[in-house]
């Protein structure tokens, strides 16, 4: 009952004795109750004086007023109309008040009876007014909200978000995978010396395998690195020959190839190296198996086949079963059912000893892979040049989580 009326309870104690005369409606009008209540009492008394003996008639009058007012309230369409009704029936000059003025004519016995009835009528009218007001307000709000309706199918305000290059995405995925296996990430210069790019990797000058890698030379001794393998040699030298090396090294490499759908004079490579006491070839198989299954899916079959790299012995190339034809042979795998994905091997003793590791004590494995190739296989990209054209329609295809 005191909901929403600040200080009501304190006030309530003060006017306790007048309790029965006060009703909800008065408070709502936000007028000082004693004054209002007092006014009402005064009016009431004078009405009783005026209407002595008119008890029955007054009762009917009150009922009529009530009925008439209730009808009008229910029909009211605006808050203004409701306000008018309130003034008309309950205001100082309103009809209920006028009736009550006649109460003075009533007998002492009749006055309380009529008074109580009049209060009930006022109570009911006030309540009805409030209910109708609430209803109208609600309707008005609904109408207002209806007008505020928007087209929720219109596009939202674009939030600009860039994204990684697909190669970066692939490289970071591989980095994180090997970090999880205890590898660190090492970097090295892209302009390399002949020594680190070739000699330290067991490719002395005039070695026939140098023909395999056509090189962009800058001077006789300096060149654009053709592989990320020099980082192996640099890292081993830095580690001084007496502690394990467990690293991968992603980066750009360069070769004298004419750019076409499958060749690029610049591409990326990820080199991996693990050197420790008693590293076995089966460890290489195990690590690459974990990598391949994680990268390409555990349903892919893996094949290890002997190969040749000057810096590893034994050497191995790793194929996965072709996803497109499930190993039956198709144009993607050139009919073999297998797709070559990386080269690897046990670090050649010459490479170990040149980098300060005693090949009698230490052994290790190394592997190298091409993120472009991985991405091309994984996403079915047919032209390596896509990676370097940076067409926005290409890049954004891979910006999903």
């Amino acid at each position: 009952m005191s909901k929403g009326i600040p200080g009501y309870s304190r006030y309530r104690n003060e006017v306790d004795t007048l309790e029965t005369l006060y009703e909800l409606g008065w408070y709502r009008e936000n007028m000082p109750r004693p004054l209002l209540g007092g006014g009402f009492l005064y009016c009431f008394l004078s009405y009783v004086r005026m209407n002595k003996g008119g008890n029955k008639k007054m009762k009917e009058q009150l009922k009529m007023i009530e009925q008439e007012a209730l009808e009008k309230i229910l029909q009211a369409k605006t808050t203004k109309e409701l306000q008018d009704i309130k003034v008309t029936y309950l205001g100082k000059k309103g009809s209920l008040t006028s009736v009550l003025r006649g109460m003075g004519k009533l007998s002492k016995e009749e006055r309380p009876v009529i008074g109580e009835l009049a209060n009930k009528v006022r109570e009911r009218l006030t309540l009805s007014l409030e209910e109708q007001l609430e209803k109208l307000e609600e309707m008005a709000l609904e109408e207002q909200l209806e007008k505020e309706t928007i087209d929720v199918t219109l596009p939202g305000r674009p939030v600009r978000l860039g994204g990684q290059h697909l190669l970066t995405k692939v490289i970071e995925e591989i980095e994180d995978l090997f970090i999880g296996m205890g590898f660190e990430i090492r970097e090295g210069p892209e302009v390399e010396t002949d020594y680190f790019n070739f000699e330290a990797l067991n490719l002395p000058k005039n070695h026939p395998a140098r023909e395999m890698q056509d090189t962009f030379f800058i001077t006789k001794e300096l060149l654009m690195r053709t592989q990320t393998s020099p980082v192996q040699a640099r890292t081993m030298l830095e580690y001084g020959g007496n502690k394990p090396v467990k690293m991968i090294s992603p980066g750009k490499v360069y070769r004298r190839d004419t750019d076409d759908a499958t060749h690029s004079h610049q591409f990326t490579q990820i080199e991996g190296l693990y050197v420790d006491k008693d590293v076995k070839m089966s460890d290489l198989k195990g690590v690459l198996d974990v990598f391949t299954k994680k990268m390409y899916g555990s349903d892919r079959k893996i094949r290890f086949r002997p190969s040749f790299f000057p810096f590893t012995e034994p050497s191995v190339e790793i194929d996965i079963s072709c996803k497109a034809c499930e190993g039956k042979g198709c144009s993607i795998c050139k009919g073999s059912g297998w797709i070559e994905i990386l080269g690897a091997g046990m670090v050649h003793p010459n490479v170990l000893s040149m980098a300060g590791y005693d090949p009698k004590v230490y052994s290790g494995f190394a592997f190298g892979m091409g993120p472009e190739r991985i991405a091309m296989l994984k996403y079915g990209i047919k032209d390596i040049r896509q990676f370097y054209t940076n067409d926005i329609r290409f890049l954004t295809q891979y910006h999903n989580a």
Binding site: R160, G162, G163, H165, G182, E184, P189, M281, P306, N390
Partner: protein
Amino acid sequence: MLVSLNWLKNYVDITDISPEELASKITKSGIEVDGIEYVAEKSEHVVVGYVVSCEKHPNADKLNLCQVDVGEEEPLQIICGAPNVAQGQKVAVAKPGAVLPNNFKIKRVKLRGVESNGMICSLQELGIEEKYVPKDVADGIYVFPKDVTVGESVEPLLNLNDAVLEFDLTPNRADCLSMLGVAYEVGAILNREVKLPSPNPKEGTEEAKDYIAVEVEAKEANPYYGAFVIRDVEIEQSPLWMRNYLIAAGIRPINNVVDITNYVLLEYGQPLHAFDYDKLGEKKIVVRHAKTNEKLVTLDEQERVLSQDHLVITDGKDPIALAGVMGGLSTEVTDTTKNVLLEAAYFDSSTVMKAVKSTGLYSDSSTRFTKGVDPNRVKEAGLRACELMGKYANATIAKGVVAYDALNREQKQVKVNVTEINKRLGTLLQPADVEDALQRLQFKFEKRSQEYLVYIPTRRGDISIFEDMLEEIARIYGYDKLPYTLPVGAGQAGGLTERQILIRKIKGIMEASGLMESRTYTLISENAANTLISPELTEANYVPIELALPMSEEHKYLRLSFLPEILRILTHNRARNEFDLGYYEIGKTFLTAESTLTKQPEERLRLAGAVTGNWVHHPWQQENKLVDFYVVKGILEKLFNYLNVAVVFKPCKHKDMHPGRTASLHLKGETIGFIGQLHPRLQKQFDLKETYVFDVDVEGLLEAYKNEPTYEEIPKYPSIGRDIAFVLDHTVLAAEVKQVIMDVGAPLVKHVSIFDVYEGEHLEAGKKSVAFHLVYQHPEKTLTDDEVQASYEQIIEAVKKKFNAYIRS
């Protein structure tokens, strides 16, 4: 190396295995088979026919009307347009119903009113590649030797049923540049016996040494030179089988003498050379290094100017061959050659390599010499050629070989220990497994308790240490059978370094700001290499590094900036109707001030980007915003705040940039990059609308990066705000005014921001109004209005005085 399986069958039994299966086994054992070529698609109903008669077609000048006996009751009447068709020939006849390659169906037809019941075929029509077709039958039908049988299917006769495996040999497997080497390999893989030819030439009574003398001066480069004398050769076609094998191996047959040297080259892997004996000036072979500027006209009719690096064969006086590379024209074997001097020699690989590089003459011979030939097969190959010359050129072979011989034919020895093998491979091999592998490889060995002493055959020059043998044993055992294990060594905590983490974060900020990561080429054109270079690089006199031998003008220099390449991306995308673009790249630039590099350049990581078009494009709510300077600056400011580095922006001039919309970036007094609008000249050049770029030295940012977040008490006392608008000359920099406000207002002014900038009709020309919002705060008390007012007035006075400013009312 192209390996004809029909040829290979002569040495090792592969009849029960399909070409595909064999290819797969060889690949799995270490030599990648790149493809399987079938010499021809199946040609049924093609048989040998005898041309009984050949007359002119009654109604056509260029057509012949032939009656051809194909072994059936009646000869077939066939119309043939080939110029070389003649009565008495044995030819390949496609009978009606035959289907030739390319699905060419042979039917009975009428040609100019006369019936033709089949076709007389050329080799090309039967599916042989044009370039391998012998020249004498290149322009017409193929004519068989007389000894073939009429009605016989041509498929085996012409080796059309052959499958050829294309070996992608790694440089170490020079042994498989010969059919015998391939036979050993396949024998080991299949665990089958290998049958080798044992040449036994029928020698005449004359002694070779009476015809020729051999003298080697360059003993290092030529440890073996053998000369065989072959007399009274009859130059003619080589036998059909030999021609077939050569075609399958990718060599065009020429005549019996040349074909035999090529055949033995392929069979033994040993290059041979045939000289016309009668054309040798002095009957004396002298092998020496060439004299400077000595000349030799080689078989390809090119005059070669030689140097002392070249090894030459001379007839005692003049060079007659460039050793191991190509013979001389003057001693070439021709149709009139009667007597042949056959050379079988061992030339040092690096000597031949030098000659190949200087002349550019890559040939089947030079390839084999550069990769190393088997010292034990040199002489044998010569004998094999002599044997074949006797048989197929009707020649007389002089007795013996005249040779200089200082060749080391010793076998290398490698110790192999089973325990060590298992330790390295992670296997549990038994001695029997190792022995099995060695036997299959045909490597001789001696067992010495735990160890094997293996004698490496000289054909396998690639094997010299234990690890090489480890691979041999592992691959014959099968890589697929090796177990899978994970390393058990003392682990380390893997992870990114602080630098690597920061670089990833910088990328993250760029992407969260709406920029796409690009990856462009490091090698760029000369023009690009000198465009949009950051001021500090120009000041340091850095020059773009030039490649010694670029492949194209497009990729000739190492970049100092990646902006030109990023601009090309914008151009590319705009041409495809993508207009709102923002890219960034993080990568290396290569810094040197040396015009000729003497040491590695400094490689510094930079961050650059370019943005063009709409930054916000939301048309239906009328919210479009073109990219401007402040959009891009905002991105950089966010990055600098994130890295906690205080970078100052100063107006700057740059030849490639808008003169009034460019700032240089400064960190601790060093220039670290620039930002601004591209010069309209460049915008036009790249076909771009207003474009903004930035280029920052990441190394500088990383050095200055501070990762020391210290706790700062959150203020307890309220702050008080004050606004103030100054009218300033247009040229006055807002940052300078802000600095004065901060300096004068210190320590009470905690924060100053700019909330309005106005230029226009309500101000006099050349003036602008800049409105600042000042925040006052004291850490230990509530400031009074008087205190704030006093500071505020001081600030106003200071700004008025310093910048000739007044307060905008």
